[in-house]
Subunit: 640 residues, 2 copies
């Protein structure tokens, strides 16, 4: 049975489906049985884990896990499709999704991206089929964000031709490792590599941790992380290694190899750069999390908006009729700007996936494009996951007590996505990386420069911050160039002005940040201290950068939309997204004379007015998210 | 074993303990066995419910439930102590706390406050002892916030001398009723009272729902609300009544009685006012939730700050040493302003409890003071519970993956408190009530005026908004009067300027709001529409009011602190609280010329500087919250 959408809802959905992987979104929409992939929220941790394991096996038989692997290993070699498939699976149970992400994204992805042909031949087919369940053991108790300094050691023993993998202390235990507590047979373990008494930095090794019967192997110690805020279907655990011997070929040696005699070799000489190149190869994980955050957010908004369209409370004195929640301005202001920003982020995510596909599908990767991709992935992951946390929370509150009941789905969405702001890179750390990358034109992004070097480099660049290009730049430039006169004279909804203002904000924040770095570059100055004292500025600059990139993606998405009515509504949504953004950042804009006081007041009035304008199309706006009503499975959205 | 605190921590704790119920806080701190009152986070819903029922019985034997009831029924007649005891119990399992709140606060409180001597004699002793478990059935499926329009009916049948209690449709089922799913033997049921064909508005009846063996009585239908986001130890359920007969004396008749012949009588003629007076008698629930939110927030901050003082990540280039998280400015900015605001709210809560005690302990209540109390309770409940939601979330994120593990306690604190923003009054609705009360000098606060009347009244008052007094007004006035000259010349940390600015912001927002109401008071205007279109303004005005009241309480608390070093640190905390508040509201302040651009930039610099200044005392600041280390029970805070 196909769902009847409003014509506007259908046109908006087509716009969000994008161009390149619309076929896949449509296919999954018609084929995926989401209600079957949502377990009872009352399951115990053990039951939920078992449920996930069962359904993971079922999914292994579908095309979902296969997109990112080459055909010779049972895959279909379409990176973009892989990210889109992950995003669409984000409408099912998120424990199941994360478990898929561990098996095929992190574990399989590490073997594929960090390993060599020999590793691929030996393992990939069984990884793709799910026969060989694995995990990805990077984070340690004492080192989560700063993985470069993790402490597990892999020391090469020339006599036996093996690595000795060892956990030197409690702080070096691998922790929060999805799959470690129960299911994983092998682990990709990140450790400090030492051969012939020389340190070569962090490398990844493929290490058996359980036998075919699931018994933990000798020298391996496993503990269970137990109950978590959410994602309780994922068996997170700790792993420790007591002088575990790993054959030499267990080293995933694409970026660094050890010969039988212990000679180390690598195509990348600088160890920092080597490490960050390895991490960069795994950028897909970060992009996938941003995508899943988007799906969960759009589900929550679909539920809350539909509920707000039915639920009535308090009477209007004029006619004593009870007022629909979404007729209250506060309710509109809670939900509609978040709907608008969710459109913006969906367009940005779609373009990011396109970049991922283009940059990483080529044999010889362009280093600058790869680094741009990494910055953008980091920035968008941070912004999209914070948006998810805040929006799902707002949806819960907007549904009142009903939204607190597990049957509404909002509690599960909220709890499961909560850790998205932390894993695959803590958001605050990610935004700092974004700012560092921008300040140094990516020179220092992944470790060529330490803080001092970064500060010195940035200080020299003062005044010359380059605005990084997006796919939409041609269009954006035309719109910006068409803006006449002074800001104060322009209509608030002039798109060219929006684009110019977002760009100007980013540039100003970066320029003044570079200027502050000068103090840190002075001889005798404490560069760390200078950078630390500017952290609020750093985060704001990174945020402004992401905001600009997202806006340009939205503008591009509008331009590509063939349906005139949908294009018109998308344009209003974009206005609302921009106005809400300016309203939230009003302090800075006024302080820096980017808005006059009168114009600032008008921004708030405009948010209210746009809410009122978009209100009649609220249902179509959430239909446009392309989530079939049957997928919502919420007590707040009764069957039609 | 007594815990060693830093001298500063001990002095801060004494300051927060206040004057009137410090004895009780100290007593509970030394006697309550919190670790025994925190269940395993992995319990199933059924196990958690059973655990709560067991521990509720234990608590019934302690003084905790007794404070709010008169001595003749086993109580001790100290309302303030009742609120403080509830706040302190907020360090134990929050399901247990809420179940206590249902039994003794809502159920017992309704019988006590809405019933007559006869009801007290018959029920209170058994309610206080826990022998008679009850529930409070107000919210209906279709009416949560707008309880005045709930649909359950209680029709008096003169022939039998009974009320016929009836649920006219699915939307009239009582829902989310704590205790209804399993434990309650009786329910206080709110219903539209009808006698002799006349409507008298909502009244409360005491209705048996289960027999001594726990079997549901005939005509009563019970359903289980099932799993929730949190508070799963509370058995929330729905209740429906099919022409259930309730004896005449079942009416809790303090505010409205029905004679045997069906004659209705009430000391309050206006039905709206009667209803809101009944609700007002139950204001303690709202105050208690604000208190519990404070306890949970301070626990979360205690955990996160202590973790931030131990946890290290990334090395400082100068000495290659790993940096403690709380040395990062971002981390300080995440936690320390929230610590400061938690102090502010704790002082405000303490003063609110004092008011509750004074206003409600007298036989003949002062109506104006009662209404002020209700506004303040509503406003502080909203602000404190949003602060809880946001702060506990910030703490979770600040603790990274470790904060996502149930063993850290942060997930449970987060999930359990989430509904605090909704129950005992949806926060958005509460802030609207606050603004309405202020706009009409409490005339319309509880129902004398509908929206049109309120708008008309407010419009007439333009320019004359009265600033409601707090206990600290004498001191505040002296500080404000001592402020010389123009704002721009004053030091940013001048307390008199802070007080004047907060008061000025409140007054301006209220005056301009009253001005906007004028349009709604014009003949032919749609008053509802005018009020609705000003909702963002309404919420901001209410918020500004609460902010002012909270600041005055903080200033009062500092003045009362006898320890000079603690007083100095409290003053820095108050500065940080104020600066963070101004930073968050910078847009409005700049827009309305309350801050110059230069001064606005200085506010941000000042937040950073105050964080740096307070950083060395971080441990003492959380020790000052007065939560014994042994009560934290968090994997992130190892035993000393």
């Amino acid at each position: 049975m196909t769902e009847e959408l409003t014509p506007l809802g259908a046109a908006l959905r087509d716009a969000l489906d994008g161009r390149r992987w619309a076929w896949l979104r449509r296919q999954i929409r018609s084929e995926l049985d989401v209600p079957r992939l949502l377990p009872d929220p009352g399951l115990s941790m053990e039951q939920h884990r078992a449920w996930v394991s069962d359904h993971l096996r079922d999914l292994a038989a579908t095309p979902h896990p296969k997109y990112s692997f080459p055909e010779r290993y049972g895959g279909s070699g379409d990176l973009g499709a892989s990210a889109v498939s992950f995003e669409m699976l984000g409408h099912a149970d998120l424990s199941l999704l994360i478990k898929c992400g561990v098996q095929w994204g992190l574990f399989g992805g590490a073997v594929y991206n960090l390993g060599t042909r020999a590793h691929h031949e030996e393992y990939l087919t069984r990884i793709v089929s799910g026969e060989l369940p694995g995990c990805f053991a990077m984070t340690e108790v004492d080192h989560g964000s700063d993985v470069q300094h993790l402490e597990t050691t892999a020391t090469y023993d020339e006599c036996s031709g093996e690595f000795v993998l060892h956990t030197p202390g409690a702080g070096a235990r691998k922790t929060y490792i999805g799959g470690a507590a129960c299911d994983a047979r092998m682990a990709v373990v990140f450790a400090q590599l030492e051969t012939r008494g020389e340190q070569h930095g962090v490398h990844a090794l493929l290490v058996p941790v359980r036998d075919e019967q699931g018994a933990v192997l000798a020298g391996v110690e496993v503990a269970d992380n137990g109950v978590k805020a959410g994602l309780n279907g994922v068996d997170n655990g700790t792993l420790a290694f007591d002088h575990v011997r790993v054959p030499r070929k267990g080293l995933l040696s694409h970026y660094g190899d050890v010969a039988a005699d212990g000679t180390y070799s690598s195509p990348i000489e600088n160890p920092d750069r080597r490490f960050f190149t390895m991490l960069g190869a795994l950028v897909r994980g970060r992009i996938s999390i941003g995508g899943a955050a988007g799906s969960a957010t759009r589900t929550a908004l679909s539920i809350a908006v539909r509920y707000g369209l039915q639920r009535r409370q308090f009477t209007r004195p004029a006619d004593r009729a009870e007022v629909v929640l979404l007729d209250y301005l506060t309710h509109q202001r809670t939900l509609l700007p978040r709907v608008a920003t969710s459109y913006a982020l969906a367009f940005a995510q779609d373009r990011l996936v396109g970049r991922l596909h283009d940059v990483q599908s080529t044999e010889k990767r362009d280093q600058r494009l790869q680094r741009e991709l990494e910055t953008r992935a980091a920035g968008l992951k941070a912004v999209a996951t914070w948006h998810a946390t805040q929006t799902i929370q707002a949806c819960r509150e907007a549904c009142g007590g009903a939204g607190y009941m597990a049957g509404s789905r909002l509690p599960t969405l909220r709890a499961d996505t909560d850790v998205f702001t932390t894993f695959e890179g803590d958001n605050t750390v990610l935004l700092q990386l974004v700012a560092k990358g921008l300040l140094t034109h990516y020179r220092a992004m992944w470790g060529d420069l330490d803080t001092l070097g970064m500060v010195q480099f940035a200080a020299r660049q003062f005044g010359g911050t380059a605005i990084e290009r997006t796919a939409a730049r041609g269009l954006v430039q035309r719109l910006v160039d068409a803006v006449p006169g002074r800001d104060d004279d322009l209509p608030l909804l002039d798109r060219g002005w929006h684009l110019r203002l977002f760009e100007d904000r980013e540039r100003h924040l970066l320029d003044t940040l570079a200027q502050r770095m000068r103090a840190g570059a002075e001889p005798g100055a404490d560069a760390w201290q200078v950078f630390n004292q500017a952290q609020d500025h750093v985060l704001h600059a990174a945020r402004a950068h992401v905001d600009r990139v997202v806006l340009e993606a939205f503008v591009d998405g509008i331009a590509e939309c063939p349906d005139p009515r949908a294009q018109e509504v998308l344009s209003r949504l974009c206005d609302l997204h921009v106005m809400a953004n300016l309203e939230a950042d009003k302090g800075w804009l006024l302080q820096h004379d980017r808005l006059s006081p009168g114009r600032a007041k008008a921004v708030t009035a405009q948010v209210n007015q746009l809410c009122e304008q978009l209100r009649p199309d609220a249902l179509a706006l959430v239909e446009g998210f392309g989530i079939p009503r049957a997928w919502l499975c919420s007590s707040l959205v009764p069957d039609p």
